[in-house]
């Protein structure tokens, strides 16, 4: 077992354990902190997959922006964790359905065949040109229309958030 496989196993275990903690922790703030841990593990995987720009975006957008928003909401709502109130429902059925999802995905993975169709983007090219530049070239030439549509999506999200958080619409 070489060192990268060992590192992969270590980070994978941390990711799965913290994902389980997201589900099992009763206090939402503990869930949020575990989710940040999972996001950092996924960012580590992106670095291992030679995608450093995606890792940076993962840390900035997910672990930074989205999680700050979630933690802020938890703080604003100031929910008291009631000990006598149940935090879970339908535990058995939900777990069975989740495991069935896992079995379905594993069946697809076991039956599917991974094709070897090596493209032009190799780790050497990423090392040489830089990942951000490669992403930028593709995004602003081939994917310029989806990129522009994204801005409309963000605008509508801003308008939606403002409308929803107004107290009374008249």
């Amino acid at each position: 077992m070489d060192i990268s496989a060992l590192f992969f196993a270590l980070v994978a275990i941390v990711a799965v354990v913290s994902a389980l903690l997201v589900v099992t922790c009763k206090n939402p703030i503990n869930s949020a902190l575990s989710l940040i841990m999972t996001f950092f593990c996924i960012a580590t995987f992106y670095v291992m997959l030679h995608a450093p720009f995606m890792a940076a975006i993962q840390v900035i957008v997910y672990a930074g922006a989205i999680m700050v928003l979630i933690v802020f909401t938890i703080m604003l709502l100031n929910i008291r964790t009631d000990a006598n109130r149940k935090a879970f429902h339908n535990t058995a059925l939900g777990t069975v359905l989740g495991i069935m999802t896992l079995l379905l995905a594993s069946t697809f993975l076991a039956r599917g065949k991974i094709i070897d169709l090596p493209g032009v983007i190799t780790p050497e090219l990423i090392q040489q040109v830089g990942h951000t530049e490669l992403i930028g070239t593709v995004m602003f030439t081939e994917f310029i229309l989806p990129f522009e549509v994204t801005s409309i999506l963000l605008l509508s999200a801003i308008v939606g958030a403002v409308v929803l958080s107004k107290r009374n619409l008249s």
Binding site: A12, V16, A19, L20, V22, V23, P28, S31, L35, I42, F45, L49, H50, A51, F53, M54, I57, Q58, V61, Y62, I66, L69, I70, T73, I74, L76, L77, I79, A87, F88, N90, T91, T95, L97, G98, I99, T101, L102, A105, S106, L109, I114, D116, L117, P118, G119, V120, I121, I135, V138, M139, F143, L153, S156, A157, I158, G160, A161, L164, S165
Partner: protein, 100 residues
């Protein structure tokens, strides 16, 4: 390449954990966080396959998924706050107006 199937299995596991969380938890904010977890599992699949195929299209997709997730976070948390203002609760079982 055995490395790729490791990543795919890992993201299948993370996705299933997210599914269990959405189905099992009652707290709306935790359900929301589990949805983010599922989105991240899919993103990991995209990046792993993109690396394997030597093609950047999957990573562009991840970029767009992240944008959608950010928009979803803004609108979803505003919805949760509006729900809390109405019901004084963030329990998913209290949203029972359309329950059959």
């Amino acid at each position: 390449m055995d490395n790729l199937s490791n990543y795919l299995v890992l993201s299948a596991i993370l996705f299933s954990i997210g599914t269990i969380g959405v189905l099992v938890r009652k707290n709306v904010i935790v359900m929301f966080m589990c949805i983010e977890l599922m989105l991240n599992a899919v993103n990991l699949t995209f990046v792993a396959l993109s690396r394997h195929l030597g093609n950047l299209d999957g990573q562009i997709f991840v970029f767009f998924t992240m944008t959608v997730a950010a928009a979803e976070a803004a609108v979803g948390l505003a919805l949760i706050i509006a729900f809390f203002k109405n019901r004084e609760s963030i329990d998913a079982n209290d949203a029972n107006l359309m329950k059959w």
